[in-house]
């Protein structure tokens, strides 16, 4: 993928994430703390969270197509980086207790692995479906070659 295409992809994801964070903050705020007041600094937080979310995605960039093994290594590194960013964010906000940090780390790991597994299952189903389509294509091509 070219740098330009990758940058466009990351930028699109950034705006989607920031919008979703805004919507989530609105819904949760209206449900649990309807009367809270904020200063203008509150508007920067979704953007900060958005940037934090896309930083781990940067490690998957490659000019050439990566092998499956290389992609797995990058995905592991991406998950590790995500863990690091989230835990750092929690610590910057003054939380150092292991009873908070360890469950956070474990839950991020579980969610991350779960997302990869679901994604792989969906892709595997798609691959099987495409394999059948490919077989039909090959049979049709052979039939057409000598008609």
């Amino acid at each position: 993928m070219s740098k330009k295409d990758f940058a466009k992809k990351i930028l699109m994801k950034f705006f989607i994430i920031v919008t979703q964070i805004n919507v989530a903050m609105f819904i949760l705020g209206m449900l649990y703390d309807r009367n809270k007041s904020f200063g203008y600094e509150a508007f920067i937080f979704p953007i900060i969270y958005g940037i934090m979310s896309i930083i781990p995605m940067l490690v998957t960039y490659s000019k050439r197509e990566l092998s499956i093994r290389a992609m797995i290594i990058r995905k592991i590194f991406q998950l590790f980086l995500l863990e690091l960013i989230l835990i750092s964010f929690v610590m910057i906000n003054g939380v150092f207790e292991t009873k908070v940090i360890i469950p956070l780390a474990i839950s991020v790991l579980i969610i991350g692995v779960f997302v990869y597994i679901i994604s792989w299952i969906l892709d595997n189903n798609e691959a099987q479906r495409l394999s059948l389509k490919l077989e039909e294509y090959q049979k049709k091509f052979e039939k057409d070659v000598w008609n």
């Binding site: 197509e65 595997n124 090959q138």
Partner: protein, 150 residues
């Protein structure tokens, strides 16, 4: 089955004639083989130059301003750019599966997931090529015979 070869002058058209008692599977296979080997491409290798049938090509790859074609066991260089090969043969069984690779769809044995929305095409000779995420939708269109949303 008796096999005869008759050399003719250049003025006459080359022809393969199969004389048979019955048009059976064997005869059809021979006819199919001859038809399929008609089209070839000029390739270069250490010993010189030759023409190989298009059907023998598994995939084509561009590496460092050179373009290579891969057959079942051999690798040859061709004197054209990847986009030129795609323009010439892309309407047939050849498909651009990534920025640097064109694969022969007839040589793909199976498909597997390859993370990040990509697929791994396992070829009949055991090699693998990646179908990049950007090209997956075009791949689906190609398999549907060029018709979208089937």
């Amino acid at each position: 089955m008796k096999v005869s070869i008759e050399k003719i002058s250049r003025e006459k058209e080359q022809e393969v004639l199969i004389r048979c008692h019955e048009v059976n599977g064997e005869v059809l296979e021979i006819a199919k083989f001859v038809k399929a080997t008609q089209e070839g491409i000029e390739v270069f290798y250490e010993q010189g130059m030759k023409v190989i049938p298009l059907l023998d090509i598994y995939y084509v790859e561009a590496v460092d301003n050179h373009v290579f074609v891969y057959s079942k066991r051999d690798v040859y260089e061709i004197k054209m750019r990847l986009y030129e090969f795609e323009q010439l043969y892309g309407e047939r069984q050849f498909f651009r599966c990534s920025k640097a690779v064109i694969v022969n769809l007839l040589k793909i044995k199976s498909l597997k997931p390859a993370l990040n929305g990509r697929f791994l095409a396992v070829l009949q000779n055991g090699e693998n090529v990646i179908i990049a995420r950007k090209y997956v939708s075009d791949f689906k269109v190609k398999l549907h015979g060029g018709v979208q949303n089937e």
